[in-house]
Amino acid sequence: MSNMLTRRQFLKEVGLVGAGVALTPMAAAGMSVDAMNALADDESPTTRLERPSWAKPSDKPTTEIDWKAMQRYDERNTCRGGLVKYIGTEKQAEWTKIQSESLAKWLKEGKSGYTLKDVALQAASGVGSATQSFLGPEKVTAPKDRGVPTWTGTPEEANEIVTAALRHLGAATVGVVELDTNTTEKLIYSFDPDGKELVFADVDQPAEEEKRRIIPRKARWAIVYTVQMSEETLKRAPTILGAQTTNLTYTRNRNIQLRLQTFLRSLGYMALGEASTNALGISPALGVVAGLGEMSRIQRLITPEYGPMVRVFKLLTDLPMAATKPINAGIMRFCSACMKCAESCPTKALSFDREPTWQTKGGWNNPGHKAYFEDSTKCREGWARSGTNCGVCFAVCPYAGKDRALIHQFVKATASATPVMNEFFKTMHDVTFGPAKPDYSPVKDPEKWWDLDLPEYGINTMQGRKNG
């Protein structure tokens, strides 16, 4: 038999190559096979959020939880508001002095990322937001005021309209946790950052009292959502330019929260939000249970879509919704092999343990789950010495990428399927993106950010989407 191809065979081969070439950019855009199929399906729901195919729904989170050991946590025990009780007033004053003196010196020197224009951008990013509150806006036109009944639908329909509304208002991904007294309710703080106790009660309406916030037991659903952060600015962490990333995201969320509260109240349901930054509940934990992502070595949520480049927010409602499932995308397992964040941390605050543990490092950790517990006081020292809220661990994470290049999807899909390549992927990440440098130097040059051509808010709102 001849080795030569016939003309017909040859044309067939050429056709296959052409089809491959045509499909390549679709795959490059991060489209799953499901998404590609949906292109030909006019009836595919437009509000359903497409997740990467390698982020598989799971009955259990990848973080082991001992619900019996877990108790509702007092937010004032975190290092956000409770640092002084762990390090004492003397050290706190010393760190504050180091921070303010360094910032003043670097501003005068014009240090990259700490210049006047960076400071100006930070100032701008922190203004222009609504006031956060537990109960939401004072006046909302309820359905009865419009002469119509309260909106009703199936829990799944409720998920769809809330997701559509939240996406329209600026959120990235949305999940739902149904509160259960013996389990998920323990993820709601016992005390808010301002010292008010969060009390579940058999009452009809929520209330804001002098020392308490009353949550009616019928508000059983926690809507958990992410808001994207600009990867390009956070990759300039730890500088003022990097630090303003979170300012802007919190500012955006204050408006999103107020609007979500208005939306739900306009439908005829209660909407109990965060009274201040990081109030109401443990964001990463709720995000994990809602399936928005997995826990990680940085002790924050890492999402399949945006890596750690999100902030997580939550709100309670009595609108019956369908709980979303946790996911397993191999992220937590990848953290076992990859220690890039821990290697890059200037104060060695993150765990170098190979496996997560039940053993907490201090009162700032919430017991009852297996994690890579961090030394939060060391983290705060890094904040003081960098003069910012650091964020190096977010910047160096291999999951913090834009996913335009095929290689990202290939690595993530493989890591989701098997851990055998994880060590190799970490090594290759060091080779291609640069090794860890625990010296407070940003991953990318802050000065160059000002020359980039970036989308609005510095975020890609089309990532993982198919229609615009």
Partner: protein, 93 residues
């Protein structure tokens, strides 16, 4: 547009290769075609990753893709050429 141009270039290239082989009576066996296909796919992957990593402002990683995928493209292409050349030598002998 890049992918359209590349598709046309590959299509024309494949047609030229096939007609050149026929005109010169050069035999390209199935293994050589497989190796050529691997080389083309590797080269396309390299181009995709290079272009998109540049778009992600990850210049260092983008340039790293050139040797990584370049090697994956050049080795099978060279093997295919070797196969064809050895096949020709046999025919002439």
């Amino acid at each position: 547009m890049l992918w359209l141009i590349l598709g046309v270039v590959i299509g024309v290239g494949a047609l030229w290769l096939a007609s050149w082989a026929r005109a010169k009576n050069v035999k390209i066996n199935w293994l050589a075609w497989v190796l050529i296909a691997i080389a083309v796919i590797s080269a396309l992957s390299g181009i995709q990753n290079f272009v998109e990593l540049m778009g992600e402002y990850e210049e260092r990683a983008a340039w790293m893709m050139i040797p990584m995928y370049g090697l994956q493209a050049v080795v099978p292409a060279a093997l295919a050429a070797l196969l064809v050349w050895r096949g020709q030598k046999k025919v002439k002998a």
